[in-house]
Amino acid sequence: MASKRIGVYICHCGVNIAQNVRIDELRQFAAGLPGVRVAQNYMYMCSEPGQEMIRKDIAENGLNRIVVVACSPRMHEPTFRNAIKSAGLNPYCLEIANIREQCSWVHKDPDVATAKAKGLLAAAVTKVALLEPLEEREVPVTRSAMVIGGGIAGIQAALDIADSGFKTYLVEKEPSIGGHMMQLDKTFPTLDCSACILTPKMADIKNHPNIELLAYSEVTDVKGFVGNFKVTVRRKPRYIDETICNACGTCASYCAIAIKDTFNEGLSKLQALHIPFPQAIPAAYVIDPLACRYTREGTCRQCEQVCKELNAINLDMQEQMVELDVGTIIVSTGFQTFDPNRKPELGYGRYDNVITGMEFERIVSASGPNQGQLLINGKKPEEVVFIQCVGSRDKTVGNEYCSRVCCMYTAKHAHLVREKLPDAKITIFYIDVRAFGKGYEEFYDRVKGEEVYYRRGNVSEVYRKGDKLICRAEDTLLGQAVEVPADLVVLAVGIEPAAAARDLGRQLKLSNSPDGFFLEAHPKLRPVDTGSDGVFLAGCCQGPKDIPDTVAQASASAAKAVIPLARGTVKTETMVARVRAEACRACGYCVDACPYDAIELGEIQLGRVRKTVATVNEVLCKSCGACSAVCLSGAIQQSGFTDDQLLAVIGAIGKEY
C-alpha cells in the first residue's frame, strides 16, 4: 500500500472563518499531523488561485490525499473534487472539514472555535488517510421528462422541454389542464384577461408533437433515480372516450343530476356529465362517478342513448394503470386557497355576502355564474369592504408567511368594483401593502386614485346589523376602533400548498419548508432543484408567487430538467456499498436492510471455492449505508464511510490538541 502523502488546505473565507479561528495556529497544527506533507492557507480556497494551489502541490509534491478545511462540504465538495481530478488525482481522495457553518459562524470565542477546528481537522486528516480511490460511472438516460401538475407552471415547463426536442408527459389530476389561472378574470397589473393569455398555451400543449397529455390522471408510484425513473400513473375513467368526444354538449343537456360547479367555487351548478369549462383541454366531457346514477346504482344511461353518432360514451370504462419511463421530473402541483372557515369571526359560511377572493373572481368573470355582473343576492352592492391577509401572516392559523399576491389581487378587485359600480364605497383593510413587481406600485397608485379607501387595520369581526354587514377593526393610523358597514365583504385568502400533493412529495422524497411548501435545494442559488436529483420544482408548490414569477420559474425548471436529457448520460452513485466476498457469510441481513433492493445473494467463484455471498447492483445502490450497519461480518461496507474510517474519525475528533 502506497504511503499517504496528505495536503491540508485551510481557507480564511475572507473573514468568515479567519475572524473567529486562528488560521496560522491551525496550519501549524495541521503540519504536525502524521502523513501531512503540505499545510497551506489561503483567502478563498474555492477560487481559481486557491484551486491552482492544490493542483500545483499535487504535481510538485506527489500528494495523494487532500483535506480542505473550509465551508460545508455541501457547498464545495464538487468544486474540490473537480479541482483534484483535473490534477490527475482520483476525486474521492478528498475530505472536507466544515469549520465555517458548523464552527466559526456559530462560536464567537476564538479559543473555543480554534480548539474545535483542530478536532475537526484532525478527524478529516485521519479519515482521508483511510480513503481509497473510487470509480465514477455513467449510465444512459431515458430521454423524456414528466411534468406533474397542469397549471400555468406545468404548462410552461412542458412546452419548454418539448420545444427542446424531448418527449414530455404532462400529468394533471383534473379533467382539464389550466389550473387556478383559468379561474381568474383579469390579471394584475396589466388587466390582461387570464383565459385569453392562458388558452393559447393550452392549445399548444394539445397540438405539440412532443407532448403526451395525461389528464384526469394521478401519479401513484415513483421508482428509480435520475435519468431512469419509473412512474406509475393512474388514469381515472372519464366514461367518455376523449379521443372521440367532440364536445358538442348534447349529452349533458339530458343528464338529470346536478352537482356543485367547483370551477365556479360552488357558486353555481352543472350536470354530473359536464365539461369543466368551455375551453377545457382535453376538449372532452367527463362524468362525475360520485353523482352519476349509473356508476352509483346502475340506472339511467340516458347519455349513452343520445351520443349515437359518435358513441363516445362508455359507462363501463375502467381505470387504467400506466407505467412510464422518464429521465427527469418536474413537480408543479400548485396551491389551494386558505379556507376562511378557519377564521369564523370573519363571517364566512354564516353570511352569504362574505366571499373569498377566488369567489369574487368568478362573480366578476364574464364566463362566471353572473356573466360578469357584480350582484349580491340580485342587487348591486353599495359598500364593499376588502380584508387583506386572511390566512397569511397569521400565527393563529399556522401560516406565518406572506402569500405575496393578495395585496395586488385585492387592488385589482377594487379596481374592477370601481369599474362596474362607479358610485360604490370601497374600503380595503390592510396591514402592509406589498406592490413589489414590475408595474405593481404604479397600479396600486392608480387604484388609490380611484377613491379606494385603504385603512390600516386587522378586522377582528364581521357581524350583521340590519341588512348590512359591519366590519369591526382598529384603524391604527387613526388610533381608533372603527365599524365600517358593507353589502359585500371580500376576504383576500392566502395561498397554501395543495393538500393533494403531500403524498406525491413523499413518493419523490421531497422535503418541506417550515411553511409546508416543497423545499428547494438552496434558497438562493438552487431555487428549482430539490434534494432528490432529477426532480425539480416550478410554481406555487415551492412557495406563493404571481404569474410572471411562476412562468419564469417554470422555464428555469425546464432548463434544469433538460440537462440530463441533453447529455444523454448521468453519473451513478460513486460511494456505493462493496462486499468483501471472503468475509461474507450470506446471512442476508443487508438484503433486507436495503431500501432499494440493490443487494442480492448469489453464488460466486472465489479462488477454488464456490460461495454464496451478497452482491451489490451498483446502479441501484444509493449509498445510504444501511447495509453496512447491519452486516454481522463487516463484509459489506459503504465506500467512503467504512467502519474503519468512521471508527478512526471517532477516535480523533474529540481529542484535546
Binding site: S72, P73, R74, M75, N98, R100, E101, Q102, C103, W105, V106, H107, K108, D109, V112, A113, A115, K116, G119, L120, A123, R506, K509, S511, N512, S513, P514, L519, G531, S532, M575, A593, P595, Y596, K622, S623, C624, G625, A626, S628, A629, V630, Q638, F641, D643, L646, L647, V649, I650, G651, I653, G654, K655, E656, Y657
Partner: protein
C-alpha cells in the same frame, strides 16, 4: 462541576440534520461548542458499536440526528436507526452508563433554529450528568503525543 465542559459526538445525516446545522450556521445562530459532528449519509449507517466506541473513547454524550420519520431521503433509513438505537439505549444503561448520555433527535434541512436548540439542550443535559463514567486508558481527555 460548573467548569466541566462535556464532549459530545454527534452523527448527523447528510440530507436533513447536517443541512439544518449548516443553515443554523448561515443564519448565525450561536450555540455551545461542545458538540463535534461526524457526517454520514443516513442515520441508518450508524452501527451501535460507533456509539459504544465514542463513549469508550471519552465522549460524555453521543447524539444521533436524522430526518423526521416519514421524510428519510432513503425512505426507511431513519426507521431502522430509531429501532436499533432505542434498543441500544437500554443496553448502555445495562452497561452502567447513564442512558441520557445517548440522545436522538430529528432535525430537517430547514430547521436551523431547532438544531441550535438541540445542541443547547443536549449540552446542558449532559453537563448535569458530569464526566463519562467509563473510558479507555488512552481516552480523548489525555493530551495527544
Amino acid at each position: 462541576m460548573s467548569s466541566f465542559e462535556p464532549k459530545i459526538v454527534a452523527f448527523l445525516c447528510n440530507w436533513c440534520t447536517y443541512a439544518g446545522a449548516d443553515l443554523a450556521g448561515t443564519s448565525r445562530y450561536q450555540y455551545p461548542p461542545n458538540v463535534r459532528v461526524i457526517r454520514v449519509m443516513c442515520s441508518s449507517r450508524i452501527n451501535p458499536a460507533f456509539i459504544i466506541n465514542a463513549l469508550l473513547e471519552g465522549a460524555d454524550g453521543v447524539l444521533v440526528s436524522g430526518c423526521h420519520p416519514g421524510e428519510c431521503h432513503y425512505t426507511s433509513g431513519n426507521y431502522m436507526a430509531r429501532r436499533r438505537l432505542v434498543l441500544l439505549r437500554r443496553m448502555i444503561e445495562y452497561m452502567g452508563i447513564h442512558p441520557d448520555r445517548f440522545r436522538m433527535s430529528w432535525v430537517s434541512a430547514s430547521e436551523g433554529a431547532k438544531w441550535a436548540d438541540v445542541v443547547k439542550e443536549v449540552t446542558e443535559a449532559v453537563k448535569v450528568l458530569g464526566p463519562n463514567e467509563i473510558k479507555r486508558e488512552q481516552a480523548w481527555m489525555q493530551p495527544s503525543l
